[in-house]
C-alpha cells in the first residue's frame, strides 16, 4: 500500500473510476457540442444563449465542467508523479494544478449562470 494525499479520490480505485466515468461524460458533451455547431451553421447569439438558458443544458454543462476538473486533476496528478522526481517541485506543481482546476471550475460556473 502506497499512501497518497494529493490525488483526487485518496484511492487509486476511485481515481480510476472517476477518470473513466468523466471521460465518457466529456465524450458525450463534445459530440453534442460539435453536432450542435454542425447542425446550426448560421448560429447567432440569441440561439446560442437560449441553448444554455435551458435547465437540462445547464445540468449537462455543469456535469461536463465538473468532469473536466476531475479528469484534469487525476490525469495531471499522475503525470507529475511520473515525471517530477523532486518533492518540492512536484508538490508545488500539484498545488498549482489543483488551484487552477478550482479557478477554472468556478469561472465556468460563473459563465454559465452569470448575467
Amino acid at each position: 500500500m502506497v499512501t497518497n494525499i494529493t490525488n483526487l479520490g485518496r484511492s487509486g480505485l476511485s481515481d480510476w473510476l472517476i477518470q473513466r466515468v468523466s471521460a465518457v461524460i466529456l465524450a458525450l458533451y463534445t459530440v453534442f457540442i460539435v453536432a450542435y455547431l454542425l447542425f446550426n451553421p448560421g448560429l447567432d447569439y440569441v440561439t446560442w444563449s437560449n441553448l444554455f438558458a435551458q435547465t437540462w443544458m445547464r445540468i449537462f454543462s455543469l456535469l461536463a465542467f465538473i468532469s473536466l476538473a476531475a479528469h484534469a486533476w487525476v490525469g495531471l496528478w499522475t503525470v507529475t508523479t511520473d515525471y517530477l522526481k523532486s518533492t518540492p517541485v512536484r508538490l508545488a506543481a500539484q498545488v498549482v494544478i489543483i488551484l487552477a482546476v478550482f479557478v477554472f471550475l468556478v469561472w465556468g460556473i460563473t459563465v454559465l449562470w452569470g448575467a
Binding site: 500500500m1 497518497n4 484511492s11 487509486g12 480505485l13 481515481d15 499522475t78 508523479t81 511520473d82
Partner: protein, 234 residues
C-alpha cells in the same frame, strides 16, 4: 560477418558506459543470441552476462536485443537481427552491475510485496488441500512466469516508479494467488493494492504482453485485479 554492438560498463574502471563493437563469423548458422555471446566471451573474457539453463526456463539471460527485451537463449538471430546488426543492452530501467548484468533488487522487492505464497487460515487437512479441475484451470497462464523481468523492465510505469508500482511480473503473480481457490487472504491482498500506484499505474500499453518470452498476458491479469477491486468496493 555479423556486427555485434554490446553495452559495456565496469564501474571499477569505466567512468561511463559505452558500446563496444564486435564482429563474428556465424558461418551462416541461425544461432541463438546466447550462443553469440558465449562465442564472443571466448575471445573477450571481460564480457559479463548472466546465463544458466540455456533453454528458456531459468530466466537468467533476459536482455534487450535490438530494442526488444527477451531471453537470449531462446531468441534466434533470425528473430532479431536487422541489416546484419545486433545491438545488446542490459534490461532497461534497472541499475547496471556490470555490462549486461543488472541489479534485480527492486524487481524482487515488488515481487516480495505481493506475498507470493499460499495463505490459508483454515485447519490444514490430513493430506492436501484439494482443488477442482475448473479452479485449477484458473491458474493457467499465471503460474508459468519465470520472473525473468523482461516485462517489468519494458514497462514505462515501472521505469518511472519501480519503488511504488508493482509491475507486470509482480501483478501477474499477485493475481495468481488472488485467483487461487485455496487462498483465503483475498481481502487482505486486495486492500494492499487499491492505492494509485501498486496496480493503477498500469496504463494498459501492453509492452509486457509484447515481450513475455513465455507468451503470458500480465495486462489481462491486471484487468482482472481491477475487476476484483471494483467488485469489492462498489
Amino acid at each position: 560477418m555479423l556486427q555485434v554492438s554490446i553495452y559495456r560498463y565496469n564501474p571499477e574502471t569505466d567512468s561511463a558506459p559505452y558500446m563496444q563493437e564486435y564482429q563474428l563469423d556465424t558461418q551462416g548458422r541461425d544461432l541463438m543470441v546466447l550462443n553469440v555471446l558465449e562465442m564472443l566471451k571466448a575471445e573477450d573474457t571481460t564480457l559479463a552476462f548472466r546465463r544458466s539453463c540455456r533453454e528458456g526456463v531459468c530466466g537468467s539471460d533476459g536482455m534487450n536485443m535490438n530494442g526488444k527485451n527477451g531471453l537470449a537463449c531462446i531468441t534466434s538471430l533470425s528473430d532479431v537481427v536487422k541489416d546484419n546488426k545486433l545491438v545488446l543492452r542490459p534490461l532497461p530501467g534497472l541499475p547496471v552491475v556490470r555490462d549486461l548484468v543488472v541489479d534485480m533488487g527492486l524487481f524482487y522487492k515488488q515481487y516480495e510485496r505481493i506475498q507470493p505464497y499460499l495463505q490459508n487460515d483454515t485447519p490444514a487437512p490430513a493430506i492436501e488441500r484439494l482443488q477442482s479441475p475448473e479452479d485449477r484451470d484458473k491458474l493457467d497462464g499465471l503460474y508459468e512466469c519465470i520472473l525473468c523481468a523482461c516485462c517489468s523492465t519494458s514497462c514505462p510505469s515501472f521505469w518511472w516508479n519501480p519503488d511504488k508500482f508493482v509491475g507486470p511480473a509482480g501483478l501477474l503473480q499477485s493475481y495468481r494467488f488472488l485467483a487461487d481457490s485455496r487462498d483465503t487472504a483475498t481481502r487482505e491482498r486486495l486492500a494492499e493494492l487499491e492505492d494509485p500506484f501498486s496496480v493503477f499505474r498500469c496504463r494498459g500499453i501492453m509492452n509486457c504482453v509484447a515481450v513475455c518470452p513465455k507468451g503470458l498476458n500480465p495486462t489481462r491479469a491486471i484487468g482482472r485485479i481491477r475487476d476484483m477491486l471494483l467488485a469489492n468496493a462498489t
